[in-house]
Every structure is written in structure tokens, then in C-alpha cells.
Symmetry: none
Subunit: 220 residues, 4 copies
DNA sequence: CATGAATGAGCTTTCATTCAT
DNA sequence: AATGAATGAAAGCTCATTCAT
């Protein structure tokens, strides 16, 4: 979901610090250590000290590569979001909407599972640092817009014109997947993967069918 | 949604400090000042200093009434959640499921609108303070459980037995309303109230119909 | 010499922190401790820690009264400069120019002796902090301007019109007294007070006589 | 003015690093870069990083040539002061004292103008680093002593014996020229070169005449 | 009940200097 | 000779909380 603006990526470390293999190795260790620390201690709770300890480097070295802990998180989130963005860009083929739903929802949940700790950290940071809040809104907006455009296509094809705006519907559907994933994988609500996908596909499918006025998505 | 546990309410101010009218007035001013400060500065950004300044009392006075800023937020959230809990406890009558959906969804959005700044603060705090995280999970669990029980009743009445578990479906539906409300009223995503309710009722209704296998909720 | 501008005094502690006698006492101790620390350790060498240790208060207390070490120095310098400013404002009476010179030069040297360590600190700070550099230029400009105006009066009375501008002459004379005092009392150059005054008065007097074309200042 | 003591020059780079043409070039670039950096950023404000960037060499290379930034400044100041020392060593011929004054004062101002940024840096450094403070006092002492000896000669020739000691008078006169030059060329006080020389020669000349008791220096 | 001065632990960031390559 | 990654000490400032008045 989304992509950095120039401003947001402005705080990256100079490209040349990792020019040597040694530098690249240290940078990678700092990244991994940061992820680990964020997972264990949370965004707030993580001090630069916690990162460098896990990376096994000195305090000062951190600042050779990242301006501050926000810069490391930024780098981590940017990579993760690139993968999410792929999902959003898929078009739903009219003859296999169900398949499209399964792919986008399943893919989303899988990525979320992979990056759950990162998502948690990002959302923690987003509550307090404008930078990450804006990034979140931007990433979400992209997702909502792509879903809205697919929903629109389905409804238009069906000939229906009434009903709530596709953007609002898309916003509710995206909210559902996103927050469900958060509650499941970050807060620890207990669910089976198969049930989760079945539920989400059922709700999305039923909603699309209702909007279209006939069975666009096979639910049985 | 939810209710304090003994442990969480343990840090209330001594009952007697607010016994006098003067004490009660000071306490009320601190509450109002805290809400205002949280809204303006966020959970992190609010210092005890910011609260007492707005309340027009001295620094030390704060601690006469509340143990720390978490205690004020706790009190504010507790009151707000009592209202949310009412919504969750409604049973959906079989002959007017649509009406029930509209009441619970509409009521939720109205309460959320009233307390949007408080919700924001609470969620900020929940990301970093165990106390509020637990409170959030508890409140949410209550809601999910009540919705699951209503969904179950609808499905059972229809005679269907297959499909995803009611608890998982309920979790997705509750996630949808809750996060949509957050994105709309806290993050500032732009929506019309009527469209919002229409969308949410449509999705919930369609999902219930799909689960039940026939039109439990009239959608036209 | 000179007076604070609004901007320069902007960083003063809030007036009310020293409202109580206890607060006033602490503030005075911090001032005295700062002066002592500056004298011993120099501007650069003095850490807030050095000040609070000498004052016998905790680190945090310092920041209740002063924003940083520059703010204490500002306060100290402001008071000192008020005294210097008095000297500069004297008009030289035509019938006792020598007396006027002795008063202004002697007075300057006495004040400088009293505040030598403060002057040293101020000048150290002025080399690196714009705030104090500007303050110094301002204080000096006031002095030069007053001297120039007195020199002008003497020359005009004499009927002479040629010669270098009074402002330039005043600048050289003020430089002489000021830097001589610095080298003597700060750098430790060895001089007798009587010789110092005799030399300075001799040079100023001779210069005035030369400008006026006859003996305005009696030198024998 | 002045010359290094063994101790102060002890920290020179090993003689052989600049033995090769390449080494000599790098060293020269570091010198020039340092001067530039000091002028732009001040003594405090200049980091080794700022110097090597301007010189286009790596961080580590700096330490091949100079022990630290003080060592570069030391080298720069040493060269500059050699030129000042020439001025001080001139004897004033009895039949052209005015010419001697014009040469020494004019020469001083010209050198000061050429090296104003270096003087500023040196004086900044002198306020905080003993090494440069001592160097300054030494350079100044030499100047004062030479002037005192010339003043003495003039007075002795005149037959006068009373009056303040030549050393004290010389100290005031040297202070005047030096600090006037600083205020003019470093602090930016506005003066015309001709007026500056006229004023300074007038004051020195008048002082000498007063000491001698007759017109040693023609002032009209 | 109210006041507000005092405390001090805690985290961030900078940069001179070293040294393995 | 040159490189540049790594080091780590050092200092500033904030703010929740206490407690004497």
C-alpha cells in the first residue's frame, strides 16, 4: 500500500555509507535488530540502545546508517508496503471474481502474518509521529481506491445504479480485512486461517452480489 | 463495551477527595481539561502540566485526584464505554433484523462521533500501555461475542449448519464498523453519514442473508 | 554599555518561578554558582552539571529557572552592563574635560576589575553565540557613539573642522581602554592602576588636544 | 608577533608524510580547506568532517597530516604571525617618527585585513584553548615590548623622565590598534581606511608628543 | 485541599579519534 | 598514502512524581 513521498524518504542515510560490503552487513544487522527490538519492546519502548545491543555494534554506529529510530522503521515499512501494493493493483476479472477475492484477501492475510510485528510497530508509531500517520493514510487510500474501482466495475457491469457510493463500500470492506487482521495477528484474537478467509470472502462476496443484484460471486 | 476489572480500577483517587463540592468541582475540571489536552496534544504529547494548566490548578493538585494521566483517561473511557455496552446488549428480533442492524450500527457511529477524540486517545494509549490494551481487547471481545450470538441465532433459525463460525464472522463485521468509524472520524476520511450507514447495513445484511441462505434482511 | 532587546531577553525564566522566597533563594544561588563556574571553567568548559553542583541543587532544578546556561549568563551580563551604561552617559563639561576623562576611564577600569571574570565569560561566549556577539556589538556601539558625541563637542568648540571623523577617533579610543582592560585584568598583563589611568588619560587628553589644536586637557 | 615554543610545535605531522609531491598537495589542500571552514563556520563550529569535505579527502587522511584541528590552525597562525613580527621589529628613526608610525600602523592594518578570518578564528580558539591563549599573549608581549622600547627611546631623547612607564603606554597603544582592527575587520564596524590610519597616527603621535614634551611627531 | 519547588533517572545525538583494509 | 566504518564518552534537556509549606 502506498509509496514514500520525497519528503518522507528524505531522512534516509546517505547512499554511500553502505558502499562497502562491511557497511552493507552492518546496515542489515541494524535493520534486523531494529525489527527484533520493535517486536519485543514496542515502538515507544525501543531505544536506540536496544537496537545497537541486538546488532552488536556501538551506539555511534547506528547514527552512521540511520538518522534515528524512525528512519529504520521507515525503511522497514517501505519494503513491506511495496509487497502490499502489488495485491492492491490486481484487477478482478469478471469471470472469476471469487478467485480474485480469495487472492487479494488471502494474500493480504499472508503478508500481514509475515509482517505482523512490523505492522504493530508501524501503527504504534503512526499514532504519534505525523510521518507514519500520513504514510498510513496514504497507503490505505491507495487500497481503498483500487477496491472501489473494482467494485465499481462489478456494479456497472450489472447495470445497477442505485446504492451507496463504491468508495464508501470499499472503505468498509478494506477496514474489515485490515482491522480483522490486526485483531487476529497483533492482538491475538483466536481464529483459523480457513475460517478467516471463508468469512471475509463470504462477506465481500455477499456484499458484491447485493450491490450487483445477482450472483456475481458464487458463495456455495 | 467492557467494564473495569478490579485491578484496573484500583488506582482511583481516594473516594473522599471529591466528597466536598469544591473537590468535586476541581475533579470535574481536571477531567474536562484532560479530555481537551488529549484531543489537542494526543496521548503521548500530553503532559500532566498540560492538563493542570487547562484546569487552572497547580501541578500538585492533579495528584490529589488522579494517580497519573492514565487514571484520568481510564475514568473517561469507562464512562464512554458504558454507553457502547448498551448497544451490544440488544437482541436482534427475528422479524426486524434490518431495524436491529440499523440501530446498532447507527448508534455505534453516533457514539463514536461524540467521543471520537476520546477513542483516538484511548487507542493511542492502547498501543503502548498494557492496561488500555487489555481494556480494548475486553471491550471488543464483549461486542464480538454479542454479535456472534445474534448471528448464530439467525443462522440456526434458518436451519443452515455449514459455513464459517459465527464468532469469526462476527469478528470481521465488528472490525469493519469499528475501523471504518476510526478512519472516518479520527483519521478524517471523507464520508456521508447516510452512505456510511447504507454501506454498513448492506454488507452486514448481505452477509447474514448469505449465511442464512435466504433473505433474512431486506436489502431493497 | 547597552541594554537587552526584547529578543535577547526572551529566554528569561518565567517571572513567577521565583515568586516564593525559596524560589528567589534558589535562583540567586544558581546565579552565583554560574558565575563561579564560568570563572573557573570558562564558558565552553562549564556544563549545567558544574553549575548545579556548586549551587547544591539537582540538575532538573536548573531548568526551572533558566532555559540553559546562556540564559544565566545573559542575566548576569545584563546587570553588569547596566552599570557600564551609566559611565557612558556622562557629558564632559568643557571646563573640566580632564576630570571627565578620569571619571570615565577610572570608572570603567573599576567596573571591569569587579566583573573581570564575567567579562571574560561574556567575550568567550560572544565568539561563538550570535546572541552574545550581537549584545557585545550593541554595547560597544553605544559607548562609541557617546564618546564620539563628546569628542565632537570638544572639537566643535575649538573651531577646528578638519581631521578624522569623531566616530573613528572615538572607536580607537574606546578600543584602547577596553582591550587594555581585558589584557590587564583578564589575560593577566601586569600594570599598576595609577600608571594605567595616567597612560590612558594621557593618550586621550593628548588626542583631544591635538584635535582641538590647543590645550583642552591639561596634561602636566 | 611571536614564535612557537618547542612544546607548541611538538604536534606537527611527521615530516615525511608531506615529502612526496602527492602528500604535499594533500596537506596544502587540507590547510586551505581548514581556513575556508574556519571562516565559514568559526572555530567551534568547524568539525574535522567539514575540513575533509572541503579538501575532498577522506576522514582518516586528515589525521595523517595533522593531529587535530588545533594543529592546522597552529600552522596557519604561525605563518601569519611571522609577517606581523616583521612590523614589530622596525626601529623608529628619530628624524621620521611619523613615517615609522604610518608604516607600522598601516602595515598592521593591511596584514589584519588579509588575515581577518584567521585572526577571528585564532581569537576564538584563544578563548578556550590554553595553547592559543598562550600564543596570543606571547605574540602580544613581543609587540608591546618593541613598541615600549621605541617609545622609551623617544622619551629618553627628549630628556623627560616623569610620566607613566613606557611599557604601560605601549600596552595601551597596541591595544588600541589591535582591538580597533578587530572591531573594524572582524566585527564589521564601518570605517574608511584613510580615516582609520589618520585617527590612529594622530593618537599615537599626540601621545608621543605629550610624553616627549615637544613635537616629535608632526601632526599638521 | 492546594501549592509549586525540587528531584533525578533516562534518552538522544554528536564527533574526535582509531584502525583494519 | 588513503579510506571510511566503528567507537564510546559526553552533555543537554524533559517530565513524572514527591513533599514541605
Amino acid at each position: 500500500m502506498g509509496r514514500m513521498t520525497a519528503d518522507e524518504s528524505a531522512h534516509q542515510a546517505p547512499a554511500d555509507v553502505a558502499a562497502t560490503p562491511r557497511g552493507a552487513r552492518t546496515m542489515a544487522r541494524l535493520r534486523a535488530a531494529a525489527l527484533e527490538a520493535f517486536a519485543e519492546l514496542g515502538w515507544q519502548g525501543t531505544r536506540v540502545e536496544d537496537i545497537v545491543q541486538r546488532a552488536g555494534v556501538s551506539h555511534g554506529t547506528f547514527y552512521t546508517y540511520y538518522e534515528n529510530k524512525a528512519a529504520v522503521l521507515d525503511a522497514l515499512v517501505r519494503d513491506s508496503q511495496a509487497d502490499f501494493a502489488h495485491l492492491a493493483s490486481d484487477r478482478w476479472e469478471a469471470d472469476d471474481v471469487r478467485g480474485a477475492l480469495e487472492r487479494v484477501i488471502g494474500g493480504f492475510l499472508d503478508l500481514y502474518a509475515r509482517d505482523a510485528m512490523l505492522m504493530r510497530t508501524w501503527l504504534q508509531a503512526a499514532r504519534e509521529e505525523k510521518r507514519f500517520g500520513a504514510l498510513y493514510r496514504e497507503a490505505r487510500a491507495l487500497f481503498v481506491e483500487r477496491v472501489a474501482s473494482n467494485v465499481s466495475a462489478v456494479v456497472t457491469a450489472s447495470g445497477r445504479t442505485s446504492g451507496p457510493p463504491a468508495r464508501t463500500v470499499a472503505s468498509t470492506l478494506v477496514s474489515m480485512v485490515e482491522h480483522f487482521a490486526y485483531c487476529w495477528m497483533v492482538l491475538g484474537e483466536s481464529h483459523e486461517r480457513a475460517d478467516a478467509i471463508a468469512s471475509l470472502v463470504l462477506v465481500w462476496g455477499a456484499a458484491l452480489n447485493a450491490l450487483a443484484g445477482f450472483e456475481v460471486v458464487e458463495l456455495e
